[in-house]
């Protein structure tokens, strides 16, 4: 018998008669856990949330919450009868009520059932929306509307909270701070949450697990570290866009060789026969900068990211390799400069396909 708090089993997620994501299975083991779903726009992430909220029906598979069947081919508990809250990406505040009244409607739903672990005032303060309480939805910005909608959802104290791109309209400068506050609120309220986002850093920070949805399938569902460092397919590597694949030949149980970079050492996370031709995943932090090295590659681009630079280097076989360097490194290289790579190349883990 299943003991998972939320269990999605073999579900085809459809909207308007069109299947968006097929045969999806994942679960949230413990109450209060937060998971994130990542994927490109239009892939069906929102459809998954809408279906779990009961706004869309399913014809295959089942969705159970706390042991209770919510959706299946035979059964569909109406949205108003599931204690599930969905905060929409777009402004879904009631247009004729003030922001305050909108948020208080969330508390009304919860009236007499549970005592809120965080008061209305605390949530307002944490989400920094006290200045807009007396305003109407059309008088506030999209980012403020998102936070107000989030506050309303939080106040309902749902069994399951679904957040659709909750911070997509929040200013970049304020985003990280709100992420921290959101995490704090979710931890304090112990609300089980699914967050949909296309921002992998947001997902890696907020979720204890991340699901990657690509080409109509849930490609990987794992903890953020593993998703980043041990992607299970070339599609996931391409989606995360944080590394490149270069051809290499396995030369021993701990080494492989690339025509441009030479010998590469490390620990394989999967066994390959010696002599096998593979695609090696190289992430920006894998190669180290060393101008004394005899392995020199040409700089074709340099991106300044505040705390670091990401150099794009061109190999002899015209491959482009990203290398991350601390901003304060002693010599800044210009385009067309030669850039040294420390040898021997030693990787923490070797991921190949």
């Amino acid at each position: 018998m299943s003991t998972n708090f939320l269990e999605v089993k073999n579900v085809d997620f459809k909207i308007g008669g069109k299947t968006k994501v097929k045969n999806v299975s994942f679960s949230i083991e413990n109450k209060g856990e937060t998971i994130c779903l990542l994927g490109p726009s239009g892939i069906g992430k929102t459809t998954i949330l809408r279906t779990i909220a009961g706004l869309e029906k399913i014809e295959k598979g089942s969705i159970k919450l706390n042991g209770k069947l919510l959706s299946s081919n035979e059964k569909n508990v109406e949205p108003e009868d599931r204690n599930v809250s969905l905060a929409f990406q777009e402004n879904s505040l009631f247009p004729h009520y003030t922001v305050e009244k909108n948020i208080l409607l969330g508390a009304e739903k919860n009236k007499g059932r549970k005592k809120n672990k965080l008061s209305f005032k605390e949530i307002i303060k944490l989400l920094d929306i006290s200045k807009i309480l007396k305003k109407f939805p059309h008088e506030i910005s999209a980012g403020e509307a998102q936070r107000a909608s989030l506050a309303r959802s939080l106040l309902t104290q749902p069994d399951l909270l679904l957040l659709d791109e909750p911070l997509s309209n929040v200013d970049q400068s304020f985003k990280e701070e709100i992420q921290v506050r959101l995490k704090k609120i979710l931890n304090k309220l112990k609300i089980t949450t699914i967050i949909v986002t296309h921002d992998s850093y947001e997902a890696f920070y907020l979720g204890s697990k991340c699901g990657i949805i690509l080409k109509q399938k849930l490609r990987q569902f794992d903890d953020p570290y593993k998703v980043y460092h041990f992607p299970n397919s070339i599609e996931v590597v391409n989606f995360l866009n944080r590394g490149i694949l270069i051809p290499a030949k396995v030369t021993s149980q701990t080494t492989l060789e690339n025509d441009d970079l030479g010998l590469i050492e490390g620990r394989f996370i999967k066994n390959y026969p010696i002599g096998a031709n593979v695609q090696l995943l190289l992430q920006p932090e894998d190669l180290e900068h060393d101008d004394n090295s005899n392995l020199k590659l040409e700089v074709v681009d340099r991106k300044f990211r505040g705390t670091n630079f990401i150099y794009t280097l061109k190999t002899l076989s015209e491959k482009l390799i990203p290398v991350l360097v601390n901003t304060h490194h002693h010599e800044i290289h210009e385009i067309h400069d030669k850039f040294g790579i420390k040898r021997p190349i030693r990787l923490e883990h070797i991921v190949c396909f």
């Binding site: 809408r50 909220a53 009961g54 706004l55 109406e78 949205p79 108003e80 599930v84 809250s85 969905l86 929409f88 777009e90 402004n91 879904s92 505040l93 009631f94 247009p95 004729h96 409607l105 969330g106 009304e108 739903k109 909608s149 309303r152 309902t156």
Partner: protein, 539 residues
């Protein structure tokens, strides 16, 4: 189709089908036998009917285009004395239906009419009748309809001009265009869909017009339909003529819908929009702009109003003979009842469409709102045809008593046909209110534990209250002005201002028609004043 069947879906479906019945009846009656009258008419007057209808249509379209767009252009782009007043005053012509305008024209220019009296008072006795032009017949009808209907073009083109960005004007300047060249090569083309939409409404109203053409004894398809039924008691032929007219109107309806859809592309997105700055006119330009707007305002509103007022004062006995209280109560009774029924059903129907998300239902709704395009005469005749058929083939066949008395010549029948005719106004008015409520608002309500009914009553109705008020007043305005349906279907001895004016005018008692016409204009003006802020809103 019935996957999402619920009470909202069912209500919406019933309303849509109910509204479609007259259209189906007319279409089916096309194949029925007609009397000899059809043959006689085909050989004699049918071509004249069609020709007159076309002449009226083309002329009214040209005049309303010139008047409507020029007024809209002047008040949207320029500032001149009273320009803000004219912005509002120019829609008052809606308060004067074409048939009342026709009475005023005749009263003023007829032999020994008001113009004659003015000239006599000013210059003494003389043979002025020879020199006073006569505005009757086709020309009188064209003027009556143009001055009454140009406001459709004015309102829609003004709205479109308002949405035109300053960037468009600046672009013209940078290309070295003169003001006139900018007008015909940039401004008018950009507003084309709105102008076409306005002209389509004018076209539908022109083809549907009964009162004015009947008063001037012009044979058109609409009067043909009325006469074939009233004079020759030939319902089938009446329906056959209606079918021809319907085909014509549907073509216009499709053009109008098409241009409305395209109109969306002509509105600038918020990002690229730069608010237009009105140009302050001075000198003779300012005077001519003022003069033009004043002339149109005078001719379309002040002239018929003062003519009716003048006769009311000149022949006060008509005022005392008229049972104003009963007429007011009758008119208000119809207005209140019909508006209430229309609003309730349109609201339910809109919500039904929203929650059921059913394509078939959406299609039915789109078809059912075509009632506005169908002349009142056709609807009234189709209604009688349907009731007669239903009574004969269903009610009596089942052994029940005749239902004709319940529906024909009763307020119930009248309200039902008003319902069909004005359903699109109410439905679209509420729909445009609904379009401002994002669907995720409903879903948020469900997720907060609201049922569909609670979402409807607690979220939608309070939000839509302004739209409902607007729709109510708009429908009231139409019903106050409406003539043919009321004339054909009203209960015995039940009169409104419109029918009283028509009856007096058709008996050549124009002086007596003045009092009810005046009250009608005043009542309609009040309704317009209430709705003007919605019609003319600039944001």
């Amino acid at each position: 189709m019935f996957k999402n069947f619920n009470i909202w879906f069912a209500s919406s479906l019933i309303v849509s089908i109910g509204v479609l019945i007259p259209i189906i009846t007319v279409s089916l009656s096309f194949f029925e036998d007609t009397s000899n009258y059809y043959q006689i008419l085909k050989d004699t007057f049918l071509l004249e009917y069609i020709f007159n209808s076309l002449i009226l249509l083309v002329s009214v379209l040209i005049l309303t285009f010139l008047i409507g767009t020029t007024c809209a252009y002047l008040v949207s782009f320029y500032r001149f004395p009273f320009s803000n007043f004219f912005k509002w005053a120019l829609i008052l012509s809606f308060a004067v239906p074409p048939y009342i305008y026709a009475y005023s024209l005749t009263a003023f220019f007829e032999n020994y009419g008001t113009a004659f009296t003015i000239l006599t008072n000013l210059f003494g006795e003389g043979s002025y009748n020879k020199h006073i032009p006569k505005f009757d017949g086709v020309f009188g009808s064209i003027l009556s309809m143009s001055f009454s209907l140009y406001a459709y073009v004015y309102i829609l083109s003004r709205a479109s001009f308002l949405y035109q960005s300053q960037n468009l004007i600046d672009l013209g300047k940078s290309l070295g265009f003169s003001k006139f060249k900018a007008l015909y090569s940039l401004i008018i083309p950009a507003a084309r869909p709105a102008i076409v939409a306005g002209l389509s409404l004018v076209a539908m109203e022109t083809l549907a017009e009964f009162g004015a053409v009947d008063f001037f004894s012009i044979n058109t398809l609409t009067t043909g339909i009325y006469n074939s039924w009233i004079s020759f008691d030939d319902l089938a032929f009446s329906n056959r003529l209606s079918f021809f007219l319907l085909l014509f109107i549907f073509a216009l309806f499709i053009i109008e819908n098409f241009s409305r859809k395209k109109a969306k592309y002509h509105f600038n997105s918020r990002g690229g929009f730069k608010q237009k700055e009105k140009i302050q006119l001075s000198g003779k330009n300012s005077f001519f702009a003022f003069l033009f707007c004043f002339l149109i305002f005078f001719l379309s509103f002040l002239f018929p109003l003062s003519q009716m007022l003048y006769w009311t004062i000149k022949f006060p006995e008509n005022l005392f003979d008229l049972d104003v209280v009963t007429l007011t109560l009758n008119t208000l009774y119809l207005v209140t009842l019909s508006s209430f029924v229309l609003i309730v059903f349109s609201l339910v129907s809109n919500y039904g469409n929203r929650v059921s998300k059913n394509k078939t239902l959406n299609l039915l709704s789109t078809l059912s709102i075509s009632g506005y395009a169908i002349p009142g005469v056709i609807l009234a005749v189709a209604f009688i045809t349907f009731i007669a058929w239903f009574d004969e083939n269903i009610v009596k066949a089942l052994g029940f008593l005749s239902i004709k008395k319940i529906f024909i010549g009763t307020v119930l029948g009248l309200v039902l046909v008003y319902f069909v005719r004005f359903y699109s106004l109410a439905f679209n008015g509420i729909k445009s209110g609904y379009e401002k409520i994002n669907i995720s608002v409903d879903e948020s309500a469900y997720l907060l534990g609201y049922s569909k009914q609670k979402t409807f009553t607690n979220i939608h109705v309070p939000f839509l209250r302004n739209s409902l008020l607007f729709v109510g007043i708009l429908v009231s305005l139409e019903i106050v002005r409406e003539l043919p349906i009321t004339l054909i279907l009203r209960p015995f001895n039940f009169e409104t201002f419109a029918t009283t004016a028509y009856i007096s005018a058709s008996e050549d008692l124009l002086e007596a028609a003045a009092v009810p016409s005046l009250f009608l204009i005043l009542m309609a003006t009040i309704f317009i004043m209430f709705t003007s802020k919605y019609i003319l809103r600039e944001k």
